[in-house]
Assembly symmetry: C2
Homo-oligomer: 299 residues x 2
């Protein structure tokens, strides 16, 4: 699994930071969180491919988090994308997408579905779930967690043979977690499977102030990408605009038992993110500051 940072600037782009866009790439699929302006340019630079299985989760309807959808959808069409694309986000997102497709005269070559979400599980398949929670921002906003399902342990064929399970569909049943009946009695999955590998839990805050709800929502994340728009000295601005300081991000991450914290959405008023990092590292032991085009490979 890779965690990819396509845009790490807050509100306004700078010469070195684009607007919010983060992707999780896993098993050849892309799950994108927000699509700020020029997301397609970073997407292109990172070589992610226009016809990948893909889902897009939008945190809120501020321009710096969603206007990049338009160019992304248009370029995918020009690249003859055929795979359907699911987009999730707050009410109003569907109007944004459909109205602009009409006004801008473009014809998607693929099916686009836009689903308004509420807190809870918004998508699940055999491999992972995506959860949403209310964030605390100046307009309706959501945070997301991608929770992978635990990976089944290695199937021990010798043990299975020794226990008298014949090669065939029963092996699959055991691998899928079901006990099977053989001529020699019942065999349970744990008798033939190695230790399972816990699925990764990745949190994406979007724009938000810290909140008790998010504290709970992000509990136990392996990686949490959190709003760190401001430094301590601009704390009051963070409060007023419903964003977070790097210190607040680290405090929440620590309280939630987050293993690794990634700061993002830096205000364009700061020259760089070194001070955000310093302030957060005083509180949490594992913090990095995201930069555009940063790739983290999670093993």
């Amino acid at each position: 699994m890779r965690l990819l940072f396509l845009g790490t600037g807050g509100a306004q782009p700078t010469k070195t930071r684009g607007l919010s866009c983060i992707c999780i790439e896993r098993n050849g699929e892309i799950i994108m969180f927000d699509a700020g302006e020029a997301a397609q340019v970073a997407y292109l630079k990172m070589g992610l491919g226009w016809n990948k299985p893909m889902r897009i989760c939008i945190t809120h309807l501020h321009g710096d988090h969603c206007t990049g959808l338009l160019g992304l959808l248009q370029t995918m069409s020009m690249q003859n994308r055929t795979k359907p694309l699911e987009i999730f986000g707050p009410a109003g997102l569907e109007e944004f997408v459909l109205t602009n497709i009409r006004i801008l005269n473009f014809r998607p070559t693929f099916t686009i579905s836009v689903s308004p979400i509420s807190p809870g599980v918004i998508f699940e398949n055999g491999e992972y779930e995506i959860h949403a929670s209310h964030a605390d921002h100046s307009i309706t906003a959501f945070s997301y967690v991608l929770q992978e399902r635990d990976k089944v342990g290695r199937f021990d064929v010798d043990k299975a043979a020794a226990l008298g399970v014949p090669r065939g569909s029963l092996w699959g049943n055991l691998q899928n977690g079901s006990a099977v009946y053989t001529d020699h009695g019942i065999v349970y999955p744990e008798q033939v499977l190695g230790p399972s590998k816990p699925g990764k839990r990745i949190g994406i805050s979007g724009d938000t102030a810290p909140s008790p709800e998010l504290n709970k929502f992000f509990e136990g994340c392996d990686y949490l990408v959190f709003d760190a728009t401001f430094l301590d000295r601009d704390y009051q601005r963070a409060v007023d605009t419903r964003h977070s300081t790097a210190t607040q991000a680290a405090t929440l991450a620590k309280a939630s038992g987050v293993k690794n914290l990634v700061l993002t959405h830096f205000s364009s008023r700061y020259k760089d993110s070194s001070r955000h990092l310093t302030e957060a590292q005083k509180i949490h032991p594992s913090v990095i500051a995201a930069e555009d085009l940063l790739e983290l490979t999670l093993v």
Copy 2:
């Protein structure tokens, strides 16, 4: 006067070319032609300033020519722009701007007017006129000409004194082109003014196939920035999509007596624009291929 190329790619951005955006800067004012995605990033890189007197002319409602308006307007608001902004373009542009301002929850700090245009003079002041013409594209599209007024020649104070024109308001009248009556008889402007300097004429094609109408419209341009999406070998694609080849751009420029031709809107299928340049230079003696962030200072 400076001619600034903020984005020179056609339809899709590449790693080195952004989407259509060209600015004329004159006397501290910006006249922008199209605002493709990420126009604000190039605008920032070129250091043009968020509170300049400004007009924006949109050629047509394809996303690669106008979605950048949204981020531009939003960032200007965050930069507390106060000066009004006039936007001109095809019918539908007003809906695009106003609908997105509503959906994206942003509050402009300045007055935005959006005026639907038809061919003819769409704006004029004491210094220049902006003319529009129908272009020949797959949807309603316009081309533009910025025509500066001729600059009055140098006022010769010695000659004025010798002719008995007293210092004062009569000097202004002569400079503005009016004859004045003095105690010694009538004095005509040409008696006291040096040769006038012809205003520059700059053409911007937007996306278009060549047409007799544009041939006439761009007559005598000092600089013409023209659609050169394709090479000769993709001539049929140019015809089918209502774009131009570099050869067609040069042929039109030559027939229109254009002094200097600037090719732009290169398709992302080509590695670079060197062949466009070669093909156009076979026909027109003064051609350059625009690159992102290119500045031309016109004297």
